[in-house]
């Protein structure tokens, strides 16, 4: 045996510190991205189902003689529902599912950061969902002949990225809460669909809900994100907008920071409570 040959049981180089953090992020994001390649029909169904909902609302607007720009509002809102559903079912509820399937205890036992796990879930979710949202936007725009007038592309991209960062920060934060709620998590996620579609103005300008309702709804990042994107995408968007775009960008940035800090704190709190009360391995079906 030469001196350069590697012994059979040589230790695998271990990652630690930020390398371990990054490797964990990538490892948790990987199944999210690859998973949809394994089940491509899901992409079709996700796009198809969203287009059905979008079409129903578009035909309502047409039945009552709405200006064509409202059709565009519905298509953009319909595309963004993909992100909200992903945050609800694959971020907020995810730790609960992981507990049910037995993975949560493994995550906690392994020498990695739980924040890295959540961040990986978020990144993988964003990449996987962006494909669906893009498809919904494209198909909806083509079917209903939506006309866009983008005057400030960098601002639009910045608003989109900030919205997703804040939204997935909210998802990371609520993952801990949903885990503590246990069996109620499924119902709470189910409950947070239509009411949020209403309050965040997915299918109409949120300004129409009145100032204070819109202010309250702004805690959901999609409220201001959608409003800002519509202002930047449609000629009459600014007229129908709730707040000026720069103000909405600042609020989104603040929400982003707040949610990430809250996610980190809640994660620690959840772990302490769950370990103390022995709820990490319980399964209350």
């Amino acid at each position: 045996m030469s001196s350069e040959a590697r012994p059979f049981f040589a230790p695998v180089p271990k990652a630690s510190g930020w390398r371990l953090f990054l490797k964990t992020v990538v490892a948790r994001a990987y199944p999210r991205v690859v998973g949809q390649q394994r089940e491509r029909s899901w992409i079709f169904f996700d796009v198809f189902l969203s287009i059905l909902a979008v079409s129903a609302y578009v035909f309502v607007y047409r039945a009552i003689g709405a200006p064509e720009e409202y059709v565009g509002f519905v298509v953009v809102g319909g595309a963004m529902t993909a992100f909200w559903l992903n945050v609800l079912w694959s971020m907020s509820s995810q730790l609960y599912w992981e507990k049910e399937s037995g993975n949560l205890a493994l995550y906690i036992m392994a020498p990695n950061s739980m924040m890295a796990i959540l961040l990986g879930m978020a990144l993988g979710g964003i990449i996987a969902t962006a494909l669906r949202a893009g498809a919904i936007l494209l198909v909806g725009s083509l079917i209903f002949h939506v006309q866009y007038a983008v005057g400030n592309l960098p601002a639009l991209v910045a608003v989109f990225i900030l919205t997703l960062a804040a939204l997935y920060g909210l998802g990371m934060m609520s993952a801990s809460l949903f885990l503590l709620w246990g069996r109620e998590a499924w119902h709470l996620a189910n409950l947070a669909q239509e009411p949020i579609y209403l309050l965040s103005g997915f299918y109409f300008p949120v300004k129409n809900l009145g100032f204070w309702v819109a202010v309250g709804a702004s805690i959901i990042p999609l409220t201001l994100g959608l409003d800002a994107m519509r202002q930047l995408l449609f000629p009459s968007g600014a007229m129908l907008g709730f707040l000026p775009v720069p103000v909405e960008v600042v609020v989104l940035a603040v929400l982003c920071i707040l949610f990430l800090i809250a996610a980190r704190w809640l994660l620690g709190y959840m772990e302490r409570i769950a370990v103390r009360e022995g709820r990490l391995l319980e399964s209350r079906r």
Binding site: L49, I64, L191, Q193, E194, P195, Y203, N208
Partner: protein
């Protein structure tokens, strides 16, 4: 001689009264079980809030959309058309997916489908019973939505002018038809794992769009309208609107050429058709699921 694979070995299949008694017992117990599953995850107050919020929010989305465009002209006949269609469509999601979801719940979540299969019960009656809880919560949601419409949004409802007989007959026929459609979906759900979330949603979504639940069928592109006329829910919702609104509903051109009797006949015929489809689909899917060993399969999807 071995019994045919699709017949339960635990129940006598020749004695009709016994079969009906077993079916009734299965239905009754499944109704109780379904109600426990639906409601016991929280306290009654939170459950009531939960049952109200979703349907009210769905209705409010349409109300805001309508109000924004028409500046709040809720007296226009199109508004009660949209509002009532949306309110009664709650039954489609509740009953149809309520029945079919029982398969997924028992197989994937509670992992009890195999035990239910070996118990002395009638499976289709059991599934129908599981749908009753959703029917009850759906009825509550429909009532709340209607009350909100009448009290706050000027939906024209005058009890003395309602054709109650037509309403009750239409509602009963419609709910039976939806339960039978749910039975078809439940049978198909026995055979699939990867798409079970999507099958109920896809059917409910397609029906929402094509049945003219929230807009007259004339708004659809001409090539899609025939599909709308093929959907039994189109006729059911028209009957409900006519019974509750009278002339306001029959003023829309979509089905104005049909009398109430003709619409009832179409709905009854389609319900019988779905009953036959449910029987055939169940026999086929049940046999295939047993042959392929799918009854106790859990996929963690």
């Amino acid at each position: 001689m071995r019994p045919p694979i699709h017949q339960s070995t635990t129940l006598p299949t020749t004695n009709l009264p016994t079969r009906w008694a077993a079916a009734w017992r299965s239905f009754r117990i499944a109704t109780w079980l379904g109600w426990q599953i639906e409601s016991n995850w929280t306290d009654p107050f939170l459950f009531a809030i939960y049952s109200m919020l979703k349907p009210l929010a769905s209705a409010a989305i349409l109300v805001v959309m309508y109000g924004v465009i028409t500046n709040g002209q809720f007296q226009n006949p199109i508004f009660p058309y949209i509002y009532l269609g949306n309110a009664f469509y709650i039954y489609v999601g509740a009953v149809m997916t309520g029945v079919s979801w029982a398969v997924i719940d028992d197989r994937e979540h509670y992992r009890t489908l195999k035990y239910i299969y070996v118990a002395p019960i009638r499976i289709p009656a059991y599934w129908l019973g599981r749908g009753v809880a959703r029917f009850l919560t759906g009825s509550f949601a429909v009532l709340i939505t209607l009350a909100a419409g009448v009290l706050f949004l000027h939906v024209p409802f005058q009890p003395a002018r309602v054709d109650w007989l037509l309403f009750l007959v239409s509602l009963t026929l419609g709910v039976v038809m939806l339960a039978l459609m749910g039975l078809v979906l439940a049978s198909i759900s026995l055979m699939i794992a990867h798409h079970f979330f999507l099958i109920g949603e896809a059917v409910a979504g397609a029906l929402y769009l094509l049945s003219g639940a929230i807009f007259p069928l004339e708004v659809l592109p001409p090539w899609l309208r025939p599909l709308g006329f093929a959907m039994p829910i189109t006729y059911w919702l028209e009957l409900i609107r006519r019974s509750l609104l009278g002339d306001i509903a029959s003023g829309f051109p979509t089905l104005s050429g049909f009398t109430n009797g003709q619409l009832l006949g179409i709905l009854a015929g389609l319900s019988v058709l779905f009953g036959l489809m449910a029987a055939v689909t169940f026999r086929f899917c049940d046999r295939r699921a047993r042959e392929k060993g799918l009854i106790d399969r859990t996929t963690n999807y």
